[in-house]
Structures are given as C-alpha cells and as structure tokens.
C-alpha cells in the first residue's frame, strides 16, 4: 500500500484544526505580555511589513496602471496614483480588445473559462470522490496498484503525456472541443483529488460504514446517503483547488482547444503579447486584473480552506 505520508503530514500540519490541538497539547503557549516596542519587535514587524509591501506592490501597480490614460503612463511613474481616474481601459479590455482579427475583448475568454471551469470542476470532483471512496472502503484486488500509478503519474511532466492524449481525443472525436478539455482537466486533476478524498474517507469512523452495510446498503447508497453528506468540507477544499487550478491553466487550453474556445488566460496572453498595434499598457493591466480576479476572489473568500487545498495540491505544481 502506498503511503503518501509526506503530503498527509503537510496537509495535516497546515490544517487549522490540527494546529489548534498541537497548541493545546504543548502547554502554555499563548502570547506573553511583552513591551510593545522592544527592539526585537521592531525588527520582526519591520521586516514583515517590508515583505508585505513587496508582495502587494505588483497588485498595486496593476490597479494604478489600469486606471490611468496612456498619455499619463508615458509621462509618469508606474508607482504614482492616477491624476485622473479613468475606467476606459477596463471597458476596452472587457469588450473591445483585439486578439488577431477578433475585437470582442476578454469577455469571450471569460465566458469560455466559465464554460470550461464549471463542468471540469464538477466532473473531476465527482469522479475523484468516487475513486477515493472505492479506494478507502471497497478496496478490490489491484486497486492499490492503479492508485500508485496515478500518484506517480502526478509527477510526470505534462509534456510527456500531451501527444498521446491528443491522439486519444482525436479518436474519440472531441479534440479541440470543450468536452475534450474537460476530459483533460479531469485526468490531470485525478491524482491529487483522489488522494485527498481517499484520505478523508479513510479517516471517517468505520463503524458508520459497517452499520450501513449491515442494514443492507450498497455501494451507491452508502456513497450518496452517508459519505457525501458527511464530507462537505473536503468537497469545498477540492472545489477551491479545482476552480483556481483550472481557471489558471494555460497549457491545456492552448493544446487542446480551438481558438474560439480559448480560455481567458490564453486570450489574455494573446492580447498583451500581440506584436501588432500600439501597446496599450493600461488596457493590458486591466485585462490582467480581470483574469486574476476570479482566483483572487476565491482566495480571499475561502481563506484558510485555500491554504489547505493548495497544501494538498502543491504536488500539482
């Protein structure tokens, strides 16, 4: 049986609940009353504030640039706030920025990304949760072998598997379509999600499962009536992981879809890095923020659950 000790340890270590218990066990640990302005404190907070400013700087510059007009950008410095706030660049980025011959803005990419992300998230989580459930509770001969291949597969560079997948999708007649891309996201989300669900289901009290079995419940009944309702937190973690991961994907979007289905990231790159025309940095930055907005929203709303999700998903890189 493969033991993914390390990932579990990280996922557990970063888990807020686990943190609390370890604090409780190791005796008094709370803040010691301390003078607010000790030299050490100044150093610690000073450094942290400088670091925080560094992390925030690009976001700040992005927003400021997107609110300026081009003449002001040419004259001024990127850190200065706009003298005259304009939302023109945002409107242009959303509805009329050009990629090649198409001039209907990022909105097309946005809706494509929605049409990719929603079904991909649902399908990949549905399949992976059932996998995890089967692995945790209904282990059959050979199941662990497949699972091991799956986990090892998570480390294989995508480039190695891309072309064979192109062939498979072409054979199925879905290469270039949204369906094809959804299959691809399901495939590459599977290792980490299956691991996540397997570990979670394995941690649920076995008595529940046994009691249901004694009462005559089968595979699907137990899954839908017992496992699913009990596991909402892990489904939310998986959802955060998938929504941000799929939204941010670039490579699969480029390889597996036709231009009319390009996700937002691909379209953004095409708009900003297009060689023809005058560079409109304010429009570019507005477009960049728009593309980053969805994962940022998920991040700020979900807080610590996101940390848990990426700790589990870090292997996905």
């Amino acid at each position: 049986m493969p033991e993914i000790v390390a990932f579990n340890a990280i996922a557990a270590g970063i888990d807020p609940e686990a943190e609390k218990t370890s604090v409780a066990l190791s005796g008094p640990r709370g803040r010691k009353p301390r003078r607010a302005l000790s030299g050490r404190n100044i150093m610690v907070y000073g450094t942290l504030i400088v670091v925080a400013l560094y992390y925030l700087l690009p976001l700040y510059v992005m927003v400021m640039t997107s609110l300026k007009g081009m003449p002001e950008i040419r004259l001024g410095n990127i850190f200065a706030p706009p003298l005259e706030i304009t939302f023109e660049p945002w409107v242009k980025a959303w509805s009329s920025a050009c990629t090649g011959l198409n001039c209907d803005g990022l909105s097309r990419g946005f809706w494509n990304s929605v049409r990719i992300t929603v079904p991909s998230t649902i399908v990949s989580i549905a399949i992976a949760s059932i996998n995890g459930y089967a692995l945790a509770n209904w282990r059959f001969k050979g199941a662990d072998l497949f699972f091991t291949i799956l986990i090892v597969g998570a480390f294989i560079p995508y480039q190695v598997m891309i072309y064979p997948i192109v062939i498979v999708l072409r054979e199925l007649g879905v290469y270039g379509s949204l369906t094809g891309l959804i299959i691809v996201h399901t495939i590459f989300g599977m290792p980490i999600l299956t691991l996540l669900f397997r570990n979670y289901f394995a941690g649920l009290p076995e008595e529940l499962f046994k009691a249901a079995r004694v009462d005559g419940a089968g595979f699907w009944t137990i899954y839908f009536r017992i496992m699913l309702p009990m596991s909402m937190p892990i489904f939310v973690v998986a959802m955060i992981l998938q929504v941000t991961g799929i939204w941010n994907d670039f490579l699969f979007g480029v390889v597996f879809t036709r231009p009319e289905y390009y996700p937002m990231t691909v379209q953004l790159n095409n708009i900003v890095n297009s060689v023809q025309g005058v560079k409109e940095y304010n429009v570019n930055m507005a477009a960049t923020i728009l593309t980053g907005a969805v994962p940022l929203f998920v991040y700020f709303v979900s807080g610590r659950l996101f940390v848990r999700g990426i700790a589990a998903g870090a292997v996905k890189g």
Binding site: G13, G27, P58, I130, L150, N269
Partner: protein
C-alpha cells in the same frame, strides 16, 4: 477489511462489482494515459516522426540532434540556473519568513494572506505583471532613473545575459508564499519543549534554529524540495507570458521546446525526445526521494 474478503464463491469478477465499475475512469487514466502515454512517448522518441507519428525507428538520432541543438542546450542551461536559484532562494526566503511568522506575532493571518495571494494567480498573470514592472521604458528602471540615478540599469527582460533572472524574480514572487506556509506548518509541528530547553540552556536563537530545528525539519525540507523541483521542470507559462523565450532564444526552457516542436515546428520526434529528457530529469529527482520516503514502509509490519 473483512467485507471485501467475504465468502465470495460465485465469481471473482462480480464481487465488488460496483466499486470496480466506478473505478473504471481511474483505471483508464492510470493505465492508458499515465502509463500507456508515457511509454508511447518514450517509444516514439526513437522514431523519425515529423508531422504525424510514424513507427520508423532511427535509434538515438533524435537525441543526438537534440543535444546538438543550440536552442535545447540553452533551454537546459536556463533550467539549471533557474532551478538552482529558485530552489535555494525559495527554501531560504521561505524558511526565514516562516521563522518570522512563528515569533507569536499579531496579524499573522493578514501577513499570511498577503504573502500567499500571488500563488492564487495564474503564471500568465504573474508573468505579465512582472513584464510591466521590468519594462525598461516605464517600469522600475525608469522610476529609479527619474529619481536622479540616470545610469541605473535594470532591464533583465531585454538583456539576454540576465533574462532568466528576470523570470526568477517573478517566479519567487509567486512561489515563496507557499514555501513559507509549508515551512510554517513544519515549525508548528516542533515540540515547544525544545524551545524551552534551549532557552534554559541559554543557547542563542539562531543557533537553535540552525543546529536543532532545521535538522528536525528534515522531512518538511525534503518534501518542499520535491514540490518545488517538480514545479521547476514544468516551468512554461511564465516564460511564455514574460518573454516568449526571448530575446532571441535567451530564455527558452525545455517545456517550451517540447511544445514548440510538437505543435508548431511539426517535428514530433524532437518533441518526444525532449519530453523524454524531461521525464528523466523528474525521475532523477523523484526516485531517490520516493526510495527514502517510502522504501522503509515497503516491509509492512
């Protein structure tokens, strides 16, 4: 588990049938895509496939051509520099930040939120923001010059000697928050008594970190290393967004080489050979780690 064994006499295959049916997608993915796809690519890397995959074997030709191609050599060199520095910097910075965060500070959540938000962004977004910040005409360079230091030069994205460091800056901005979080989890896992003991013995804090805490966190360090390393090999989007491999071929990376040869240059054989080299690189990182981490567990009590 007892229930899987049962008294199943009727038919081996029918037992647990639902679980097997439900696992078909997983089995297909594992066997057809992960295993089959990898083997397929490796096999076809020995052929002279051009526009379409063809099974006419040419031995190691593709690999010889690969290792003679300046662009590939540049890609490998870039990956080595980028990989080495990004490993060192993200481990060191990540650990230092985690140690700072572990000083029982206030607003820990706020600081963590700020340091980790870049990780939520796509590499494309990160790449484009840093492309803008590093723009020599309007970005950091021009701001510093306008302050009076007119000879200040900081244009990594337009200087082929240092372009890879420009990409490194963006990558570190995006990734160190995650490393910090992993390290912080590791620090939190360390018994508080160790700190008490070192304080009683009057050992300076940095010495406790270097000689006691870090050795105790070996596992976390190794895992983080593997996570960073397997991400490094895949670096692609960031380069595409920031420089598209330029100036010239100065910031090419292997993943981009693979993509370009497979889907643009219609030279599949080269693409397969290059991706096989990527596979080997990952194997060199993963296999020793997997052996260390799971080798002992194989005995099974």
């Amino acid at each position: 588990m007892g229930h899987t064994r049962g008294s199943g006499r009727p038919n081996q295959w029918l037992r647990n049938l639902n679980a097997k049916l439900a696992s078909i997608p997983m089995i297909l993915t594992a066997v057809v895509i992960f295993l089959g796809g990898t083997v397929w690519t490796v096999v076809y890397s020995f052929t002279n496939s051009k526009l379409l995959p063809r099974l006419s074997f040419v031995g190691l030709d593709q690999y010889e051509r690969l290792w003679a191609a300046p662009r590939w050599l540049m890609s490998v060199q870039n990956l080595a520099i980028y990989g080495l520095f990004s490993l060192i910097f993200s481990l060191v910075i990540g650990f230092l930040l985690a140690a700072l965060m572990d000083q029982k500070i206030r607003f820990e959540n706020t600081f963590r939120t700020i340091m980790l938000y870049p990780f939520a962004l796509s590499f494309i977004v990160t790449g484009l923001v840093w492309q803008w910040l590093l723009n020599p005409e309007y970005g950091i360079q021009s701001v510093v010059r306008s302050l009076g230091w007119t000879s200040f030069a900081f244009d990594p994205l337009y200087n082929s000697n240092i372009v890879i460091y420009g990409i490194l800056i963006a990558a570190l901005w995006q990734g160190t928050g995650l490393v910090m979080c992993l390290m912080l989890a590791g620090l939190r896992g360390i018994d508080e008594d160790i700190w008490k003991a070192s304080r009683v013995d009057g050992i300076p804090m940095w010495k406790t970190y270097v000689f006691v805490i870090i050795p105790m966190m070996r596992g976390v360090f190794i895992t983080t290393l593997v996570i960073i390393a397997s991400g490094i090999v895949k670096v692609y989007d960031l380069v595409v967004a920031q420089t598209s491999g330029g100036p010239g071929i100065a910031s090419e990376v292997p993943a981009k080489y693979v993509y370009d040869y497979m889907f643009q240059a219609q030279n599949l054989g080269q693409g397969f050979a290059a991706s096989t080299m990527m596979l080997i690189t990952v194997a060199i990182i993963i296999v020793p780690w997997a052996y260390l981490e799971f080798g002992g567990g194989r005995k099974r009590a």
